[in-house]
Amino acid sequence: MNAHGAGNPRRAGFWPTLRAVLWSFFGVRRRQAYMEDAGSLNPLAVVVAGVLAGAVFVILIVIAVQVVLA
């Protein structure tokens, strides 16, 4: 994505990417963790994880609604 950052290894695995995305849903992140994210996360993977987590979020609310209405 950033030509100047091409030398950086962006090989964070599935769980670190998902963890960062889940923290983003809360909107809070520790500085140390963010520095690690900035160096290791693949932006494309973050977008994919964000959309997936959004879908899971919707499903969780649907389940909560079903529980309330049951």
Partner: protein, 525 residues
């Protein structure tokens, strides 16, 4: 289209002058300036419509305008302010500031940038000109709900074409911003070092690309229902008018965030400068912005609780809407935490930014109240909703735009804006704003419907108060015009770093910023 500017291609030969300079310019600063002048003209036009509305509502009964024209005014006020004033103003800020902030020489697609802007004046002419066609302008409300919008005169067609054109302009502007931010950052300006204004605009640009085609689809379906025999929204032909509302609000709710995320970005630049501290929780701000953007696609039907929805649907959209308040609350917390124990001074931009936090938060809270389905069904289409969204869009988007304008005017003009006039503008605006819109909460709770030219006698006092406030607020905006004109014509010279605590690449170039900046990309440590 290559990522080089017209001026670079021309080898810095002097370009056309006069009107042709502005018609043919590919310079991001020129285009940014034109966007802002355009949006201010539209702001005044929409403001005149608002004041006509408030003049009519000063007393019960019909005094100033006929009901049909009143409905046109409420509709056009909304359309002009949303699509003509707020959105182009933010794009103007983006044009001026994003290249300066990321160390780029210009926007990525300089010619497309010119076209994005020059599509707007014809769209504005179509929109405003629709007042003068047979039947007048569209009076279906800015949301253009079917079946009203299917039944209107040709003013509706003009509005549809205006929306198409403004939508194309927005999409091109958004593509330009995404490509510029992703590809033209200076060496060392990693995404996570990028000023928050650029981040919020990057995310806003994705939202624009995602939802403007949805709006275009919605109004195109109205157009074909009107003229080509389709029945998308006509129940008699097998269609469904409620489907229009779903499609419109699938665009409309992200649109709310399109109008507020860049405002968050501006405020996030200003508060650290005048608190003389780095922004608290920069990473959280980025993450929260992304979170808000994603969640904004899952809350649209909270605008439609009163249309008759299964309980499961009401609960879903109610829960989702309440949850989206969490990342927004994180942002407010971070701004306050940035100010905490800072060496704060309250120059005009900081006044506007703190005023923004105070009043916008009130709008956020009334939004949460509206999110509760059983309450929303009571306040739907009342003045409570009018109060809520003006607290978000005027106290939110507009106040942030003023904050940003006062903050960057030294960079744009080379002169410091008058502190006295700026503060006068702020205090008049915030006082009159609250006089105008705070009583509307009470009117709404008492049951006064929106979009009516006449009302029952018990609403008279609060309406008179709101009208007095509205005229005060409207006239206060002329102070801003005076400030800008004075600033352009002269005044105290601005230093490159115009504000003591200002950080960022834009403050490393002289004030006013030269026509060409960062032809040699700066290196960010």
């Amino acid at each position: 289209m290559a990522a080089v500017t017209h001026d670079q291609l021309q080898g810095h030969q002097p370009g056309p002058t006069g009107l042709m300079r502005w018609l043919t310019t590919t310079n991001h600063k020129d285009i940014g300036t034109m966007y802002m002048i355009f949006s201010f003209i539209m702001f005044l036009s929409g403001g005149v419509m608002a004041l006509t509305i408030r003049a009519e509502l000063f007393q019960p009964g019909l005094q100033v305008v006929q009901p049909e024209f009143f409905n046109q005014l409420t509709t056009m006020h909304g359309l002009v302010m949303v699509f003509g004033a707020i959105m182009p103003a933010f794009v103007g800020f983006a044009n001026w500031m994003i290249p300066l902030m990321i160390g780029a020489s210009d926007m990525a697609f300089a010619r497309m940038n010119n076209w994005s802007f020059w599509l707007l004046p014809p769209a504005a002419i179509l929109l405003i000109g629709s007042f003068f066609v047979p039947g007048g302008a569209t009076a279906a409300g800015w949301t253009l709900y079917a079946p009203l919008s299917v039944q209107m005169g040709m003013g509706m067609d003009l509005a549809i074409f205006a929306i198409h054109i403004m939508g194309i302009s927005s999409i091109m502007g958004a593509i330009n911003i995404v490509v510029t931010v992703l590809n033209m950052r200076a060496p060392g300006m990693t995404l996570m070092k990028m000023p928050l204004f650029c981040w919020t605009w990057l995310i806003t640009a994705y939202l624009l690309i995602a939802v403007m085609p949805v709006l275009a689809g919605a109004v195109t379906m109205i157009l074909t229902d009107r003229h080509f025999g389709t029945s998308f929204f006509n129940a008699a032909g097998g269609g469904d008018p409620v489907m229009y509302q779903h499609i419109f609000w699938f665009f409309g709710h992200p649109e709310v965030y399109i109008m507020i995320l860049p405002a968050f970005g501006i405020v996030s630049q200003i508060i650290p400068t005048f608190a003389r501290k780095p922004l608290f929780g920069y990473a959280s701000m980025v993450y929260a912005t992304a979170s808000i953007a994603i969640l904004s696609f899952a809350v649209w039907a909270h605008h439609m609780f009163a249309t008759g929805m299964p309980a499961a649907g009401q609960l879903f959209f109610m829960y989702a809407t309440m949850l989206i308040a969490v990342p927004t609350g994180v942002k407010v917390f971070n701004w306050v935490a940035t100010m905490w124990r800072g060496s704060m001074t309250f120059e005009t931009p900081m006044l506007w930014a703190t005023g923004f936090i105070f009043v916008f938060t009130m709008g956020g809270f009334t939004g949460l109240i509206c999110a509760i389905a059983p309450i929303d069904i009571q306040v739907q289409d009342t003045y409570y909703v009018v109060a809520h969204f003006h607290y978000v869009l005027v106290a939110g988007s507009l106040f942030a735009l003023f904050a940003g304008a006062y903050y960057w005017l030294p960079k744009w003009t080379g002169h410091m804006p008058s502190e006295f006039l700026g503060k006068l503008h702020f205090w008049c605006s915030i006082v009159f704003f609250n006089i105008t819109f705070f009583p509307m909460h009470f009117l709404g709770l008492a049951g006064m419907p929106r979009r009516i030219p006449d009302y029952a006698l018990q609403f008279a006092d609060f309406n008179a108060l709101a009208s007095v406030g509205a005229f005060g607020f409207g006239l206060s905006q002329l102070i801003f015009l005076v400030v800008v004109v004075k600033c352009v014509r002269g005044g105290e010279r601005a230093a490159a770093r115009s504000w003591e605590g200002a950080e960022g690449l834009e403050w490393t170039v002289p004030s006013p910023a030269p026509h060409h900046t960062f032809e040699q990309a700066p290196v960010v440590k």
